[in-house]
């Protein structure tokens, strides 16, 4: 199936290992991270991850749900290019 470009915004606790937890979800599903940016938001202790991936549209819903399983992840939004 045709791949599309997706932009993900993840809000999470600003803590050790969160990047690994998130990246593990991508890698075990064989999504390559094309672009990644992480920064603490204005709200102290909350980080914002911005991630770009290429993916088949049918797989995005499940990816989102798997990311939402991570205890430290507070919010996930995904938009297509």
């Amino acid at each position: 199936m045709e791949q599309k470009v997706y932009y993900l915004k993840l809000k999470s606790e600003n803590a050790l290992r969160v990047l690994q937890r998130i990246s593990t979800v991508f890698s075990r599903n064989r999504f390559n991270i094309e672009e990644l940016h992480v920064k603490e938001t204005e709200e102290k202790g909350v980080s914002l991850f911005s991630v770009t991936i290429h993916a088949e549209p049918a797989r995005i819903d499940n990816l989102k749900k798997q990311l939402r399983r991570i205890i430290e992840v507070l919010e996930v939004t995904i938009t297509a290019k």
């Binding site: 050790l16 290992r17 690994q20 937890r21 593990t24 075990r28 819903d61 499940n62 749900k65 798997q66 939402r68 399983r69 205890i71 507070l74």
Partner: protein, 563 residues
């Protein structure tokens, strides 16, 4: 008052009502073991012989009781040996908390002696994990660990505590200041009335409804609600491997097991159902077979606690994000009484065919060597379906699942998702500690028993009366079966030359008996059941027996083979 991190850990565990843990000491966890020495009246510690045994015993304890199981290990190899058990607990949704020692914080990242990045290694196989480097974190982190392990879909949590944090003193929180972590589920709202009504309408209008029972029914203790729904609307019930014992086998509405080695009717008639109510199960590939041909004519009502499971493999007509008990309780008043005699008759017909072509020869053979199924069948009759059966992985596991008639909940303990060989003995030890009044019987192959055979020493030292039944065919039987059916009988490294298991047991001061003849089987099982001590039976069974029915890997459930 000041206390050490290790003492705080003990206090925190007592607050979580932990009274049993399985573990193995070593350098980096020694301060914790030293604190444990003073807490032996509150927390019983069972010394395992391999850390994998600790994690799996914690699983067995949890699955027999519903409580959180706890395993304790040192850093490095102690910690890495836990990983198989942790991965098992993740796939089978078992709440366990593993606590590991770690090298002192200043040594982290230096390749210190017995340093391993266990937190990094267990990220993919835990619900949550955390490294404590400061003793004052212990009360809250332990509280959070247990909350995460229990909450929602249960699972494993690992806490790694550096050695210096274990000895560090800190100001002990006053009783009422002790932090209690509470989980907030961000993805669960009220069950919407509209969704419940849609589900009930589907059930009420169905002519061929079917209930699939998963492990979630046992985890949420929804057995009564399940029986009520099945009886009210007269719906046949099929179980996944892990759902076994949630619904009594002797009940008229119970039709057997789904999946690769499930019963004929449940497999072939799944695709004839017009409505399927899937309760606390996740449509694993061993259940669905080829997904594109599974349940194409059915509307699926999926009651599931994990949002990530809804729509993962099967798109439900109605998804109810709830634990099995809540979901069934909400649904029950909306479901009307009904009767489906013709639909039930089709299962009866399928069972008669399976009985004729498979079961009869399996459970009541009159010649040849002892068969696995006849041992299980006899055991089921002798224990009247009341025992806890802890099986390993392979042919004997499928035989135990197929031919033991489970009549009580939490009675079938097996490694479903991960398929962990070596699971049964340590899991049974954990289960027996949790349910000392119940008969706990290991069903294991000659391959699986040798993967954690050292745990016989635990049964010996603790005099814990697990009964071990080895169904010994001198083969890795399930792999051999696949080689026979799908690899042109090229038996590549599946035949085993085994030790004398009765002598091995004897070395552990455990009594046992070798059984090779059908005439001696019944008396041998009686002798095993009569003792209140650990016991081992080495039963030599037909070497090249196969498990049928079988849905070949990648085939649809319609293609289930009876031979």
């Amino acid at each position: 008052m000041k206390i050490t991190g290790a003492q705080a850990l003990m206090e925190a565990l007592v607050r979580e009502e932990v009274n049993l843990m399985f573990g193995y000491p070593g350098g980096a966890i020694m301060p914790t073991y030293d604190a444990l020495y003073d807490y032996q009246d509150k927390i019983k510690h069972v010394l395992v012989r391999h850390e994998q045994g600790a994690a799996i015993s914690a699983i067995g304890y949890s699955r027999a009781t519903g409580n959180v199981g706890v395993a304790l290990a040192t850093s490095g190899p102690g910690a890495t040996n836990l990983i198989t058990g942790i991965a098992d607990a993740l796939l089978d949704s078992v709440p366990i908390v593993c606590i590991t020692g770690q090298v002192a914080a200043p040594l982290l990242g230096t390749d210190a002696f017995q340093e391993s990045d266990i937190v990094g290694m267990t990220v993919p196989v835990t619900k949550w994990n955390y490294q404590i480097t400061d003793a004052s974190e212990i009360p809250e982190v332990v509280s959070k660990a247990f909350a995460v392990a229990r909450h929602g879909k249960p699972g494993p949590v690992l806490i790694d505590i550096t050695k210096d944090a274990q000895v560090q003193e800190f100001e002990y929180p006053a009783l009422n200041d002790w932090p209690v972590f509470e989980m907030h589920n961000r993805y669960r709202g009220e069950l919407s009335k509209a969704n419940l009504q849609r589900a009930a309408d589907l059930i009420n209008e169905a002519t061929q409804p079917l209930i699939f029972v998963g492990h979630g029914v046992l985890l949420s203790k929804a057995e009564e609600e399940l029986i009520a729904l099945s009886e009210k609307a007269n719906i046949p019930v099929c179980s996944t491997l892990l759902g076994l014992s949630a619904f009594p086998s002797g009940h008229d509405n119970f039709k057997g097991m789904l999946g690769m080695h499930g019963n004929y009717g449940p497999n072939i008639l799944s695709n004839k159902a017009d409505v399927v109510i899937a309760v606390g199960m996740r449509f694993d590939d061993r259940v669905t077979g080829k997904l594109s041909t599974f349940l194409n004519d059915a509307k699926v009502i999926h009651i599931e606690i994990d949002q990530a499971e809804l729509g993962k493999n099967i798109d439900p007509a109605v998804g109810l994000l709830a634990d099995a008990k809540e979901g069934l309780q909400a649904l029950l008043p909306l479901v009307e009484e009904n009767k489906h005699p013709e639909w039930h008759q089709r299962f009866t017909d399928c069972y008669a065919e399976e009985m004729d072509k498979v079961i009869k020869q399996e459970i009541l053979p009159t010649e040849g060597q002892i068969k696995m199924a006849e041992v299980i069948h006899m055991l089921s009759e002798k224990t009247q379906g009341q025992a806890i059966i802890v099986s390993d992985v392979g042919q004997h596991q499928m035989m135990a699942a197929r031919y033991y008639g489970f009549e009580r909940p939490d009675s079938h303990i097996s490694s479903g998702g991960l398929g962990t060989m070596g699971f049964s003995l340590p899991a049974a030890i954990g289960a027996k500690f949790g349910q000392p009044e119940r008969e706990v019987i290991v069903i294991v192959g000659d391959g699986g028993i040798q993967m954690n055979i050292q745990e016989l020493a635990v049964a010996m030292q603790e005099n814990i009366a697990v009964k071990v039944v080895i169904l010994n065919n001198s083969f890795l039987g399930m792999v051999r079966q696949w080689q026979e059916l799908f690899f042109e009988k090229r038996y590549s490294f599946t035949e085993m030359d085994n030790p004398d298991f009765v002598k091995v047991a004897e070395a552990y001061r455990i009594k046992g008996e070798k059984v090779e003849e059908r005439e001696k089987l019944s008396a041998a099982l009686d002798a095993m059941l009569a003792t209140d001590k650990p016991y081992l039976l080495d039963i030599h069974v037909e070497k090249q027996d196969n498990v049928f029915p079988m849905v070949p890997a990648g085939a649809g459930v319609d293609d289930v083979r009876l031979s």
